[in-house]
Amino acid sequence: MSGVWIYADKYEQGVELLTAGRGVADMLGMKLTALVSGDNNIAQDFIARGADEVLLLPPLTESQPVQDYVPLMADEARDADPDVFLIAASLKGKEMAARIAARLDTALCSECSAMNIDEKGKLQMERLMYGGAAIQTVSISSRPQMATIPPRSYEAAPVQSDRQGNIKTLESPEPSGMQVMERKGKAQASGDITAARIIVCAGRGIENQEDLAMVRELAEVLGGEVACTRPISEEKHWMTEESCIGLSAKEVKPALYLGIGVSGQIQHVVGIREAGIICAVNSDENAPIFESADYGITGDLYQIVPALIEEFKK
């Protein structure tokens, strides 16, 4: 058997992986199989967006964690023996991918940032290491070749009208003994920074919590979201970690990133490297953020931010 498999624990990432998986499957001349949890309508939607086959994961009980799918998915993969298995690098996805890879005795490229297929039909995958200072290229000698793909690495696959595919419903997984006792939503009400087109990011240069209002106003004027660096969320607790950009926090891909008082530590810059335009305001002309920026203003952010708000309003 041969084929390309994809799985995402969330719909939006699933349709992104359809784009990634379809590309790989076409290059290898293989079938694309999507593991999908949900009902027949979602299965049909995945087929319309590019899957040749859908393995439908039956619903879990309220107290079952999504990780309970792991044994089932690993068993199916062992039987079907796909060539490639891509999983969305959500927090749950990363854990599930590692566990499936362990069950299948295969290797896994974590958070693959670029993917090519060499002349032998093998994946050549890139990923960051050393805190973002280096890029490693890896391949996998075992089957399936597994990788986790960061959210928003690919556009969502569009619906095509004439597509056909098989749907196979899998059996319900056994409860694992792990129980979800409670689920808590995100603390903050504001939008998801990983989806934002425009991000204004507050850094250590902001002196008081009240001053975040100014940053929020700028974001509002620009129609964007407010994010922050690690010191703001972790040390000062002025914003939640949901708003924190960087390695081991959120990686963002906005069209415009505007850093206010952000010094530009490598661990933060890694999280914005995919941004379209990077702008920075910092009083220190030597701040490393300027090396990673397209446009920079040197000066007192307490004068500059109000001026920017006025100017962008025009």
């Binding site: 990780q67 959500s90 995100k186 002309e285 203003i297």
Partner: protein
């Protein structure tokens, strides 16, 4: 009285990583350190021991020159260490590391709970913990930021993309912890001195009695560059105008 294992990795300190003129990574002068997130793993194990009693054992897989790493880990509180080392254990990939850990832990160590960092600060693959749990056939809860033990179960609060989940799992189990779970203590002088006297059980490849094949093949390493050509502006009114004009011209604002 839980017996707790904390796993740690002795890694290149990324502060020493500098691209050479050829764009390669030069590690000749690199210093090593205890992987950042593993400090949290060790600290959590020690805090749980302070709360519930029991024991804390540190375990690592490393090349044989990582002896300083053992002392470093032991100075942070565990009472003994398993030092699984061999000259061939340099740059292991996660499937190898987890298989080796599983072999030793499964065969030789009594445990109720295994704590790993969420990932290593060099590779940051975030695989070894979950893989190890699978190899041992025990429950795994990853990305945990709060942990308690009740009636032979762990109750863990873990981070998800949507928020938080509180999960309960029967012991023995494995968790991987996030940096915000605790603030690792700075070892005092006497902790370091005591570390040298704690028992260290050494195990080499021959003792393990099997081969651990590399499945993730290293095809190359290069320095990452994130440099852009920054156009600089001052803080004066004309500068602000020019800056806003330049940003508008890129088309990123009005399109939305």
């Amino acid at each position: 009285m839980p017996n707790i294992i904390c796993c740690f990795k002795w890694v290149v300190d990324e502060a020493y990583i500098k691209p050479s003129s050829s764009g390669k990574i030069d590690l000749e002068w690199a210093e090593y350190k205890l992987s950042d997130y593993d400090r949290n793993a060790i600290e959590e194990a020690v805090q749980l021991q302070e709360k519930y009693g029991g024991s804390v054992t540190a375990v690592t897989v490393a090349s044989s020159d990582a002896t300083k790493g053992i002392k470093d880990a032991l100075s942070r509180g565990p009472e003994k260490a398993y030092f699984i080392n061999d000259d061939q254990f340099e740059n292991l990939e996660p499937s190898q590391t987890s298989a080796i850990l599983a072999k030793v832990i499964g065969d030789q160590i009594d445990y109720d709970l295994i704590i790993c960092g969420e990932g290593s600060s060099d590779m940051y693959s975030q695989q070894v913990g979950p893989r190890l749990a699978e190899k041992l056939g025990i429950p795994c809860i990853a990305f945990v930021n709060q942990l308690t033990i009740e009636d032979n179960r762990i109750i863990a609060e873990r981070k998800t993309d949507d928020g938080l989940e509180v999960i309960s799992a029967p012991l023995p189990a494995l968790v991987t912890v996030l940096p915000d779970i605790n603030s690792p203590r700075v070892p005092g002088l006497k902790d370091t001195l005591a570390a040298s006297k704690k028992p260290v059980i050494e195990i080499d490849l021959e003792d393990l009695g099997s081969e651990y094949e590399r499945l993730l093949i290293d095809e190359g390493l290069r320095a990452a560059s994130m440099e852009r050509n920054c156009s600089r502006f001052g803080a004066g009114p004309e500068d602000i105008k020019a800056f806003v004009e330049a940003v508008r011209k890129t088309g990123v604002i009005d399109r939305g």
